[in-house]
C-alpha cells in the first residue's frame, strides 16, 4: 500500500537530495569543527574568556541542530532548520558587527568573529545559502 507521504520522501529532487547533500556536508564539517573547538576552549582555558567560549559552544549547538534538521526529511524538520539557520544568521551578523565595533570585547576568536573572516567568510555565506535552499524547497501547506 502506498501513501502520498512515502512517495514524497522518495522524490530525488527533494530538500535532502542533490545539492542539499553538499549543504549538509558543509554544515556537518562546521558542526564538528565548532564543537571540537568549543570543547577544547572550555576544557582548557574557559577562565580566560567565559563569554567568548560560551558563545563558541552556542554556535556549535546551532550548527549541530542545523546539520541534523537539514538532513531529516519532512516539514517539521524544515521548520527546525529554518529557525536554526535564522539564529545562525543573526549570530554571525550580531557577533560580526560587535567584533568590529568593539574588538577589545572580542579578543578571543569565535566562529562568528569578524563575520567569520577566520573561516573564509563561510559562516556568513552558509546561512544565506541555507535559507535560499530551504525557501526553494519549502513544502506547500
Amino acid at each position: 500500500m502506498s501513501t502520498p507521504n512515502t512517495a514524497k520522501k522518495e522524490t530525488p529532487t527533494g530538500r535532502t537530495s542533490g545539492p542539499g547533500r553538499l549543504l549538509i556536508t558543509v554544515y556537518g564539517v562546521f558542526a564538528i569543527s565548532a564543537t571540537a573547538r568549543a570543547l577544547l576552549q572550555i576544557a582548557t582555558k574557559f577562565d580566560e574568556a567565559p563569554v567568548a567560549y560560551t558563545l563558541s559552544a552556542f554556535a556549535a549547538i546551532v550548527y549541530i541542530v542545523a546539520t541534523v534538521s537539514l538532513a531529516k526529511p519532512g516539514a517539521k524538520w524544515a521548520t527546525v532548520a529554518t529557525v536554526a539557520i535564522c539564529i545562525e544568521l543573526l549570530g554571525v551578523l550580531v557577533v560580526g558587527a560587535l567584533s568590529l565595533v568593539d574588538p577589545a570585547a572580542f579578543q578571543h576568536a569565535s566562529v562568528w568573529s569578524k563575520f567569520g573572516q577566520g573561516y573564509g567568510y563561510i559562516p556568513l555565506l552558509l546561512p544565506i545559502i541555507g535559507l535560499i535552499w530551504l525557501y526553494r524547497h519549502r513544502e506547500a501547506k
Partner: protein
C-alpha cells in the same frame, strides 16, 4: 605555522583530491574509480602522517602542543574520507563528487592546524597579533 614536508605533501594530495572530485562533478559524472582513488589517497596520506608522527615522537622529536589535541585532529582527519565516502554513496549522483571534494580541502585546513600544534605556534591567547592575523588568513 611552519611549512614542513608533511604539510606540503599533504596539501598537494588534499587539494589535488578536491580538484579531481570537483572536475568530475562539473562533468556531471557519478563517483567512479578516479574520484574514489582521490579519496583513498587522502586517507593513505593521513595514515602515513600518523605513522610518521609516531616515529618522530619515538625518535625524540618534541610535540610542542597538547598531544591529545594533535591526535584528535589526526583521528578526525582519518575519519573524514570514510565519512565523506559513506555520505556520498548513500545517494550516488554527480553531487556525490562535490561532497567528496569537500574532504580534501577540509583535511588540508586540519593539517595546517596540526602543523601549528606540532611546532607550537598555536591559538594561544598570548599569541602575538601578527600570528593571530596569520592564523585568520589560514582560515582556522
Amino acid at each position: 605555522m611552519i611549512l614542513d614536508a608533511w604539510f606540503i605533501i599533504g596539501a598537494i594530495v588534499g587539494l589535488t583530491s578536491t580538484v579531481v572530485c570537483v572536475v568530475a562533478a562539473v562533468m556531471k559524472k557519478k563517483p567512479n574509480d578516479v574520484t574514489l582513488l582521490a579519496l583513498i589517497a587522502v586517507e593513505l596520506f593521513i595514515v602515513a602522517y600518523a605513522i610518521g608522527s609516531i616515529i618522530r615522537l619515538a625518535n625524540g622529536e618534541p610535540l610542542a602542543g597538547e598531544p591529545w589535541e594533535f591526535w584528535g585532529y589526526m583521528f578526525t582527519a582519518a575519519a573524514l574520507p570514510v565519512a565523506g565516502f559513506y555520505w556520498a554513496m548513500m545517494e550516488r549522483t554527480h553531487w556525490s563528487n562535490y561532497v567528496m571534494s569537500a574532504v580534501g580541502v577540509t583535511v588540508v585546513v586540519m593539517l595546517a592546524r596540526m602543523a601549528q600544534i606540532w611546532y607550537g605556534t598555536g591559538l594561544s591567547a598570548q599569541a602575538a597579533p601578527a600570528l593571530e592575523s596569520l592564523q585568520q588568513g589560514l582560515g582556522i
